[in-house]
Amino acid sequence: MFAYILTRLASLALILVVMSVLIFLVTQAMPGDVASMIAGQFASKEVVDAIAVKLGLDQPLIVQYGRWAGGILQGDLGRSLVLEQPIGPILMEALARSLVLAVVALAVVAVVGIALGVLAAVRRGKLTDQMVSGVSYLGIAVPDFFWAIVLVLIFGSYLQLLPTGGYTPISEGFLPWAAHLVLPVVTLVMMLLARIARLTRSSMIDVLQTNYVKFARAKGMPESVVILRHALKNALLPTITVLAIDFGLILGGVVVIETIFSYPGMGRLLLFAIQRHDLPLIQATILIVSAAYCLANLTADLLYAFVNPKIRHGMRAS
């Protein structure tokens, strides 16, 4: 197990190194450049060049990369060229907000999605099953931005129940904080629920047909115990994978939802950086997102082991 984690961490480090080079090269290949962005409309070439020199953009790529990577190794994510601020605090703030969104949304998705999936599996072919499918279809059939707008209109404009956007730190009180999260979370849930529910349903159906479930029934266990204790734990593996992927997705930014709900998370930060061609900001953001994604995957794999002792065993062996 320990060896397994070590191996995984080593490969994670390797991935991040590869990613850093890739990110660096790829962002360099992006059209547009920050100097002309800063110079603005119709800046003459000398102006753009002057800015480029000032920002050190004229140096060879390898030097730029070395400086960047060296800084990151020392925990310095660099300075945003456009915002003229150190990237670290900005990024961490956005990350924290995305994290909040991801954790809350995924908690809801996991609980509701798994519950719906289990329900549908248990009542396979019955009305409940079809209703669950129906609801999940509705969730994926309509683009997230459409849901988002409809929610804004209903809960913001008409019912005036919830704030329509923005973010309030929890330090300003739990209720305002929670109120600002409701709509983005609901939209995300609509978007992600279907997959989780369907996945849980199908693996639950498989597990419900296994011998050990039958044996649990033969022991006279009531259905609730059979389903929750015996079946569910074993049915969760694929669900966990997808949850981890979704976690990475939300951390990486759900631009559309963040935009509509004015949620200052990673997605909008990245989009901002891309639109302003702020390379250090783009690079740092993607690197952090990648790292977060890899960590989410690792966590999922460790969760597997927690859920399934056999895999724990396999980890020790392989």
Binding site: G32, F42, A50, E84, V152, Q160, L269
Partner: protein, 474 residues
Amino acid sequence: AGTLKVSVDSNLNTLDPAKMKGGQEYVAAYLIFNGLTVIGHDMTVKPDLAERWEHSDDLKTWTFHLRKGVKFHNGRDLEAEDVVATITRIQDKATGSTARVNFEIVESMKALDPATVQFQLKSPYAGFAELFGERQARIVPRDAVDTLASKPIGTGPFEFVSFSPGDRVVLKRNANYFEEGLPKLDEVVVRILPEAAAQVAALTTGELDLVWNLPLEAIDKVKADTKLKVDSVPTSTWDGVIMNNVVKPFDDPRVRKAVAMALDKQTITQIALFGNGTPTHSPIPPSHPYFNTDLKIAKGDPAGAKKLLAEAGYPNGFEVTLHTPAGRATRERLGLAVRELLKPAGITVNVQRVPFDVFLKDIEGKAGFYIDGFFSRPTIDTSVYPWYHSRGSWNTALWSYSNPKMDALLDGARQAKSEDEAKSLYTQVQALAVEDSPGVIPYVINHINGLNAKVKGFQSHPMMFLDLRNVSVD
């Protein structure tokens, strides 16, 4: 008294006025900083940090006398050296200020004493005082320029408290503000809400007090709400159909003329602005006394355009790509309207949206045919000269239009000694601009703010500034 919550629709790149590019940023600039002069609601120049100013007869030496007792937010007194430092910084190419071109005219400057600063110009310029009303020419403390982008210090009515990119800028009342009893508000929160629907919803729920530059689609809704109101003012901010005069087929004036003829400006104003603007000939708005009322606004004459095209060697029209910057709804609509209106004239337009950074780098000044737009300028000269004079800064980059007659008219207007002289010259400029059609300027836009009825004392500014000095919320 109270807190005013106002929204802008896009993130602020910087709080350093010299580097500002967008309307949202100017909102902050106007609240935090002052210029030597200010453009008033009536579009005339007024004293701001400079109490008064005088110029030599040849219009080449300008002396400004600073107001006494003005303090920066950090407590230091404003001095003439700060003005010199501010302008020097703008002139530095590496700063990347778009106001740099304005101050190219300055030969030299010096602080005569802590309260007096003098400028020597390369050529006579009557509108020099107005240049200090420009958005980027905010006076900044010379010892704190490096942190302006994230921690701006100015002399303005509000002091900077915090900026969280993508989320909000928080400002508080400047207790030492030099205008007695102003500002009235204790606090201003500028929130960044990119989605129009969210802005309007927030305004309805009272989460916001004011929506700066209200999305056009939402005007009807805000108007319908009795708790809300709409405040609007005509501006000389314009969008244009840019034709590069050195790129085929637009190097032929007949082609440009044909395009201009085919475009029905009234219709375009309807489509792009839902009527919230006024058709015009040039950046001079119809509300301005210099506006040429004799000229007819183009009504759209595809037949005439076809004829001209045939003369220019395009009897069957041609196909062309029109670039529009992505995310600017009005300009995107303008692009689609152009596409539609040029169709009967035989011109096939392929609209192509381009991300803004790419637009800046690869389209503006390089492509043949695109949609662009410009904020209103403080003076008629700054609104016209750079676009139409053959050495005008925008012109050389935008459409490379060159007509000696136009140059003569514009140079003359700069030194015009009387209003009438200036008016007559500018009237001819407009006629020539329509005749040569270096590009098509279909309209000037109304600046519209949506606000809660409880916001008192607010007036929309034709320069799209957010003037909150007299505003209060109860």
